[in-house]
Symmetry: C2
Subunit: 229 residues, 2 copies
């Protein structure tokens, strides 16, 4: 459960390899999905690469090229049927089925993740939560019972958990990830501000809240420097 120097480090920006589709394309794909869902909610049934691109800040060619990686989903002279394209993208992303997710770490952020309403509709069900704090174990958050860390491997197997979310303090994140991986989880979203070393075959995406703010502060600071100088 320590972490001297395990395999495959991998950073935030990209997940591990995945065939030959650029990470940036997959990123945009899920942006297209979200926007298509908004379009449908607005009562729009058909769209075009230029409309979709315009709403997201991409070129029409970009949208078409991205989709071309996976097939030909449009109708020349017409555009894309929204519901059709939604289904295609969900299939590509794998969210045409439900993924079960386990959460490790029920602090402030963990509780927010358990209560987050946006997962279910996109095909993710948070099915188990774990914490090392005996005071939390046994209690229920959002209808989910908090279990002790020691039960991860049993529960992950029993509940057929696919993915993990790590929301523990930085110092414990690698250990938490190691346990999840040993239990058979295939991918992890890591909210701790560390780069996890995971074995090949386990995907990771990192979300670091302070880093997100840093990206913004850089942009603002650059602008201020440009103006001020």
């Amino acid at each position: 459960m320590s972490s001297s120097k395990p395999p495959t480090p991998r950073s935030e920006s990209g997940r591990s390899e995945s065939g030959s589709v650029p990470a940036a394309v997959v990123n945009r794909l899920s942006l297209y999905l979200r926007e298509l869902q908004h379009l449908v909610a607005e009562g729009i049934q058909t769209t075009s690469s230029s409309q979709l691109g315009e709403r997201l800040g991409f070129s029409d060619a970009q949208v078409r090229k991205d989709l071309a990686h996976f097939g030909a989903f449009g109708h020349p002279g017409v555009g894309y049927r929204c519901d059709e394209l939604i289904n295609e993208i969900r299939r590509i992303l794998g969210t045409d089925r439900v993924w079960t997710v386990a959460l490790v770490g029920v602090g402030n952020l963990g509780r927010a993740l358990l209560g987050y309403k946006g997962f279910e509709s996109q095909g993710f069900r948070v099915a188990a939560a774990f914490d090392s704090d005996p005071a939390k174990v046994g209690s229920h958050v959002e209808g989910i019972e908090i279990r002790p860390i020691e039960e991860i491997s049993q529960v992950v197997a029993q509940a057929a958990i696919d993915l993990g979310m790590v929301a523990v303090p930085a110092a414990f994140a690698q250990a938490a990830a190691d346990v999840l991986v040993a239990a058979g989880v295939r991918g992890i979203v890591n909210f701790a501000p560390v780069s996890l070393a995971l074995p090949e075959g386990v995907s990771q995406v990192g979300v670091d809240l302070a880093r997100e703010l840093e990206q913004v502060s850089f942009a603002v600071a650059s602008r201020l420097r440009a103006e001020g100088a």
Copy 2:
């Protein structure tokens, strides 16, 4: 306060323009910063592009090229003094000063953001919080008083707020952003699953929890397809 078709849409992946430094470079920069801080915590005072790269999954050349965008911070034959490079990167990212941040939306996620311990040490102080729910207004979360949305512009000016975090439901995110921008905020981190349209000169980074999971599920689904097929 509606949002027919305002300026500059911009997606998650990139922030607005910022001189000529690629977004990916800035992303990695803050990853380098984080790792350097870990190195210092481990008692390591000097590092090299290859050590830094290895721990993050990048090549040594990548690390050196990234830094070269901003200057020459290393010592040939020696490497990089960790504390020196940390200072340089903080200066570049703009976090050599404190940025004040306002939060709009004190739901589950908003509360987690107010309680998040990782902001302060990186140069961000959440100094104000707003919510439209009268039941929440007036209460205190993590020592911060929740104020009504109507007071945003007054408070942002008075407290000299630099950045905003939007953690309201998708349908209200554009309006919340509009108010923040009108009040003078220069950058926004948006946790709502929509693409905000912001005027030029205001930076945005989007964090969409469901999308992060989708990136992982794509990678896992790809691997399963490859194996299974």
